[in-house]
């Protein structure tokens, strides 16, 4: 009786395995294979070995995109988590406003990246909201063509990403705060620890799991960023905001360099897997030591 039961249970897996296998794992394997061909997307494809990868290594646009992607991710991970943590620790100390404000902070998260990029493309425009605001404040000297200058464009795009997801990081940190035993905080308060001391020696170590989740999520998310550079700058100015995803999209769907684009996508996969697994295992190690 139990044997048949187990067989029925195993059958529950079938739809998931079929869909996942055919529409995820198979394309993944085929992609790795296609990156070693000269495919143009049509039926004819010759195996050429690591040719595309050699071309990629020689292409300064790919090296630049890889650098932009990593730099962008670093800026987003640091800024988004710092802001999220700041808001979470301030909100944690003020239970009365906590709930309402955390909802407000989450609203940007509900907007699509395309729409967020829409709004900010105007705010960053030369005659747009931010420059107008700076003008009103009498800070005309700080006015700037934010998205049109190679030295600021990538950071401006990253800022939109941070604006959108800082509330999400804050929510995760707040959930982490809720798992801090109140006795610990009370004990620290009785000992006369200052706010900063309490944060440093009680809260920060207890927030380690939340930090691991937050850093890993924001890292993976920012490495795969696509809509923000696409809508805000389309990779410009002069390629300053070209990320790996932008190169994949451009080469695969319009550049005529199909196999090359797929090779770049494999580079993206390797980057995401290496960086995210290294970061999360480092953070897990840290959790255990604390």
């Amino acid at each position: 009786m139990f044997h048949r039961r187990r067989a029925t249970m195993a059958a529950f897996l079938l739809p998931a395995i079929v869909i996942y296998g055919v529409f995820m794992l198979y394309p993944l394997a085929r992609g790795v294979y296609l990156s070693m061909t000269d495919s143009l997307g049509g039926p004819i494809a010759n195996f050429v070995g690591p040719e595309q990868y050699r071309a990629m290594a020689d292409d300064p646009a790919v090296t630049a995109a890889l650098w932009h992607t990593v730099l962008y991710a670093a800026v987003v991970v640091v800024a988004q988590n710092a802001l999220g943590l700041l808001f979470a620790s301030l909100l944690f100390r003020r239970p009365k406003v906590r709930k309402a404000l955390s909802v407000v902070l989450l609203t940007p998260t509900l907007v699509s990246p395309v729409m967020a990029a829409f709004i900010w493309s105007y705010l960053f425009a030369p005659e747009g909201g931010i420059n107008a605001l700076l003008g009103v404040l009498g800070l005309d000297s700080l006015q700037h063509v934010w998205l049109g200058d190679t030295s600021t464009a990538l950071y401006a795009v990253a800022a939109v990403n941070v604006w959108m997801f800082a509330g999400y990081s804050c929510a995760i940190f707040l959930a982490g705060y809720m798992s801090v035993p109140t006795e610990l905080l009370d004990a620290a308060a009785v000992d006369g620890a200052s706010g900063w001391q309490r944060f440093r020696s009680v809260e920060w170590p207890m927030l380690a799991p939340a930090l691991t989740v937050n850093v890993t999520l924001s890292l993976i998310g920012s490495l795969k960023v696509f809509e923000f550079p696409l809508v805000l700058t389309n990779g410009g100015p002069a390629g300053a905001t070209d990320t790996l995803t932008m190169l994949v999209y451009r080469n695969v769907f319009g550049g005529g360099k199909f196999a090359f684009g797929i090779a770049v996508s494999v580079l993206l996969l390797v980057t995401v897997v290496v960086l995210s697994s290294a970061t999360s295992s480092l953070l897990r190690l840290r959790e255990r030591r604390i």
Binding site: R5, R6, A10, F12, L13, P15, A16, I17, Y20, F23, M24, L25, Y26, L28, R30, G31, L34, G41, L90, L91, R93, V97, L101, S102, V103, V104, L105, L106, P108, T109, L110, S112, V114, M115, F118, I119, S121, Y122, G128, G129, A132, W163, Y168, I172, L174, A175, P209, I220, E227, L230, V231, T233, V248, Y249, V252, G261, I262, S265, V273, S276
Partner: protein
């Protein structure tokens, strides 16, 4: 005495600063709403000034230009079907994955979890070829299948860890009473999955509604396009016109935002709970 007074004022001051800090996060939204209600000439004169007169003209304009009625229905249909498919396929799969603890099932589970770190960009090109060969380009079914496949890792992860936290005693009793796997799943497990399902649905609905890439690549037929695709193809990066951009942006997020205002509590709980459990 003085020190408590000082502490209280500084505490209140902190709260005020915190409120102001939070306000800056919604300021772009408020600005968007106000600007989209102004006339183009008025905005050009003073981007930050007080509106002289309010108009709905921009909205009606954007409504027509991004074919809002049609594309919102398309997006709603795709989001709804994807949510349904992911919850059904995902919850079914997680039951054996949580309960059958054999070598092969651990392997299958790992294979699913692996998918959480695979960016869609890695599979988009080969997936395009596959959908072309299967004649699924330009079809809602194709897009729904793609969303199901790319969200299955998250669904399997959520559901499996949840089912593992349900004690087996109930199921054993049901089995002794002659309940098969089917009845056990539908009468015992499925009703218990309700809270985690709402978390998952929040996550998936946001992903699917807001996604640009999949409909951009896989739905070429103008009649089948989603809100995001229509809005995207309507922008001109060289002339950023807030009075045409902003209404389009607001129309794009409005339905989802309205739903989430009503489900606010679940959304906040869901988004944070789902993440911390991992």
């Amino acid at each position: 005495m003085i020190s408590t007074l000082w502490r209280r004022t500084s505490g209140n001051l902190g709260t005020v600063l915190l409120c102001l800090g939070t306000l800056t996060f919604v300021l772009p939204f408020l600005f968007t709403v106000v600007t989209s209600l102004r006339t183009a000439a008025d905005v050009a004169r003073s981007p930050l000034g007080f509106p002289h007169s309010l108009t709905l003209h921009n909205f009606t304009e954007a409504f027509g230009q991004i074919h809002y009625g049609r594309s919102a229905l398309n997006t709603l249909l795709i989001t709804g079907l994807s949510c349904l498919s992911i919850t059904v396929v995902g919850s079914l799969a997680s039951y054996p994955l949580a309960r059958l603890t054999q070598n092969w099932s651990t392997w299958v589970y790992r294979l699913f979890i692996l998918g959480t770190s695979v960016p869609i960009f890695v599979v988009v090109a080969p997936l395009y070829l596959l959908m072309r060969d299967l004649d699924l380009l330009d079809s809602y079914a194709g897009v729904v299948i793609i969303y199901t496949a790319i969200n299955l890792p998250v669904a399997v992860f959520f559901y499996t860890s949840f089912v593992r936290s349900i004690p087996v005693d109930l199921e054993e009793a049901a089995a002794l009473d002659g309940c098969g796997a089917f009845r056990t799943f539908f009468t015992i497990i499925l009703p218990l999955l309700r809270p985690i399902t709402s978390t998952l649905l929040t996550f998936v609905a946001l992903q699917v509604w807001n996604d640009l890439l999949v409909p951009l690549v896989f739905l070429q037929d103008p009649d089948k396009r989603t809100v995001m695709v229509n809005a995207y193809s309507f922008i001109d990066p060289h002339t950023v016109q807030p009075t045409t951009l902003f209404p389009a942006a607001l129309l794009g997020v409005l339905p989802l935002l309205l739903i989430f205002v009503f489900l606010q509590r679940h959304v906040v709980a869901g988004m944070s709970a789902g993440a911390v459990k991992s």
